[in-house]
Amino acid sequence: MALRKTLESICIPIAAILFGLLLFGLFCSFVGANPFAVYASIWKAAFGSWNTFQNTLIRAAPLMLSSLCTLLPARLGLVIIGNEGALVMGGLAAVSMGLALGTAVPSFWVQSFMALAGMGAGGIWIAIVGALRHYRAVNETISSLLLNYIAIAILNHLVGGPMRDPNSLNKPSTAPLAEINMLGDIPGTRVHWGLVYGLIACVIAYFLIQRTTFGFSTRAAGGNMRAARLAGLPVGKLTLTICFLAGSCAGLAGMVEIAAVQGAANESLNVGYGYGGILVAFAARQNPLAAILVSLLVGGILASGGILQRSHGLPDATVLVFEGIIFLVVLYSDSLYGRLPFFKEKPDRLPPAPQPAIPTSVTAQGS
């Protein structure tokens, strides 16, 4: 890859984050907090030391898996926002599996089957979206959004009624998993194994998309679905497979949340990792490896939410404003690729074509 283009893909995101920080600093000074002290606190709370960086890692872990649920279908040109629903269904399936197996089999097998159950349930949940899209032309964004609400209703219903453990008195939950079946922390840290799953899943996704014929077909079909169909690509099979894989990543995130954090399914399963994952996927420009970095960034933002309240007297909503600003700027920065003269290889050449090959359509040339 040409040097300037590499430089571009490094400089633009960094500049975007710095600009976002600048805007947030302005916001802070507007509401009466010292922006430099705020920056120092954010750094200290999110990345300052290994101890606090683990806080960031813990919060980043579920986002990596969840982001793949949006990221993979996006390579096929589908905008799916059903992460929360797939995560919830994955968690429910995992806890059911874990409770069904109990301590009858070794914990390794229980954990493996829980992971498979979570991935299966999440995968099927999003595969439904893919199937509706392919066979009935139902808009995938809307159907996946609706399925989120339906999944959360199923969770509340099951946890409040049929699956409720009578001993979970004042916080309705399913029965707890056996202690031995819980996923522990990575040795020497307080970060649970979900982080490793997330990293592995992102790396696998990267190779799948960039280095395999399956990935090539996906990217080709993502460029132009109709042309892909004409060219004889199995669009239906691609759609269903990609959607299943996407959902299974979110389902695995649900399993990790159950098996490494909560130990039982309850309303805490639905705390917004899904929506965070959507933003991570887009901010990472649909690149699985970049999704790792963006997840860390978001994890850092979330980790700094506490110190903004404790040390600066800012209200709890500050972290939302912070997150919102950073994301808006990062999303905007995506449009700068190829527009800044400095990063162009030769001034008279056309701007490099962006990854999904559609934007240079008639309209773009006409302007």
């Binding site: 606090t52 509340n156 996923l183 040795p187 649970h192 194994w193 954090v261 805490s268 309240q309 404790r310």
Partner: protein, 399 residues
């Protein structure tokens, strides 16, 4: 994954070893008397960057915003009252912390960065697994959890539970509601059919029935702690059914109180005093008085008492008598006879002679739940597992 498990187990052993070592350190520290805890506070204060060595950092964590006019606000006001009463308390707070790893990280930051030695993570769902996990990791920090979940022997020694029998105040509110209602129909907007909520509904109803045996309480479950639209809908639909006193157990009673006032019916508050929201129809209400409890606890801790040594009870519970809760001042619509009846019941609570759950009590399906001759005192664990609605309540607890 088998490898992971292996690592994990060996690590757990290491942690256990470390814990034992720290625990030993702690016990030896406490063996020397109360000076030890002040020295601990001194470096806590130093960590927090405060010049005053006598300051003690206390952390409060809330699951929602601090100003929700309800559960979280009641605790936040308790915390504010604490700092007002005891100037040496340095308060660190975090609001809107979900019941996930986020809360363990918040606790950890409060301990590691701010030097907190006493934590009050107030949401019910923080306890298992989050507080239990942190308590094992930080055996010299005291964790007080609102909810009454502590189990002797199974839970770490540095964890304590506190909760108030606010249903005593609900019983009195029921007396007021039952004798003020003209239609004999009371309404209860509830979040979820969990024991705490059921107990409030039942006590409210039993209070009302003690003055008017024919009274009924209609209950509507909204399904979640904060759904303003559903709460308003529930309040309105009950008003349509001729209910003329409304109360609730949701996170923020504001909507129910205002809707009742708009509909020209009476209401009875919860969590905090809401009389300002319904100047005409507010009868009374069941309020928490956490400032009182927090101040007592911290005064004890300052004097060297700890959970670990057993000087502070692990289960701290009480009702009106112990100052955990109180009854709002009566509104203008409450007659003097009603006030007298309510005050009489209150006096019985204060001298300890009142037992709400005295048999025979039937549930609303006709089954006897507390046989005649049995009386369950407030501390009775059976009441913590309540899973029925008493006779006179219209509603069911299916989800």
């Amino acid at each position: 994954m088998s490898q992971e498990k292996l690592f994990h187990l060996s690590r757990r052993q290491i942690v256990r070893g470390l814990l034992a070592a720290t625990a030993f350190g702690v016990t030896t520290k406490f063996g020397t008397g109360c000076t030890a805890s002040t020295s601990g506070q001194a470096d806590a204060g130093a960590n927090a960057g405060s010049g005053d060595g006598e300051q003690m950092t206390v952390g409060f964590i809330y699951v929602g915003p601090k100003d929700d006019y309800g559960y979280n606000q009641a605790h936040a006001e308790g915390a504010a009252g604490l700092t007002k009463a005891l100037t040496w308390v340095k308060l660190v707070e975090e609001a809107s912390v979900p019941e996930t790893t986020a809360v363990t990280e918040s606790m950890r930051s409060m301990i590691d960065i701010d030097g907190a030695k006493v934590l009050f993570p107030t949401s019910f769902g923080y306890f298992d697994p989050h507080i239990l996990k942190m308590a094992q990791e930080y055996p010299d920090v005291q964790f007080f959890h609102c909810g009454g979940l502590y189990k002797e022997g199974t839970h770490p020694k540095n964890v304590g539970s506190y909760f108030g029998y606010i249903d005593e105040a609900q019983y009195i509110a029921g007396i007021v509601a039952g004798s003020t209602s003209k239609t004999g129909k009371l309404g209860f907007v509830a979040a979820k059919p969990i024991p705490q909520v059921l107990r409030n509904i039942n006590s409210f109803t039993l209070g009302a029935k003690s003055v008017n045996p024919d009274v009924t309480t209609q209950v509507i479950f909204t399904g979640d702690w904060s759904l303003p639209l559903k709460e308003a809908e529930a309040a309105n639909s009950m008003a349509d059914q001729d209910v003329d006193v409304l109360t609730c157990h949701v996170d923020s009673p504001k909507v129910v109180m205002e809707t009742a006032e708009k509909r020209g019916i009476f209401c009875s508050g919860y969590h905090a005093n809401q009389s300002a929201l319904a100047p005409k129809g507010y009868l009374t209400g069941a309020e928490w008085d956490w400032a009182n409890i927090y101040t007592k606890l911290l005064t004890d801790i300052k004097s060297g008492k700890t959970l670990m040594s057993g000087d502070i009870p692990h289960l701290l519970r009480g009702g009106l008598k112990d100052g955990f809760c109180k009854v709002s001042d009566y509104g203008p619509a409450v007659s003097s006879d009603t006030k007298k009846a309510a005050e009489a019941a209150k006096a019985k609570f204060m001298d300890g002679s009142m037992v709400i759950y005295t048999g025979e009590i039937k549930d609303n399906k006709g089954n006897v739940v507390i046989p005649a001759g049995t009386s369950l005192k407030q501390q009775d664990p059976k009441l913590e597992e309540m899973n029925y609605l008493v006779e006179g309540v219209i509603g069911s607890i299916g989800s």
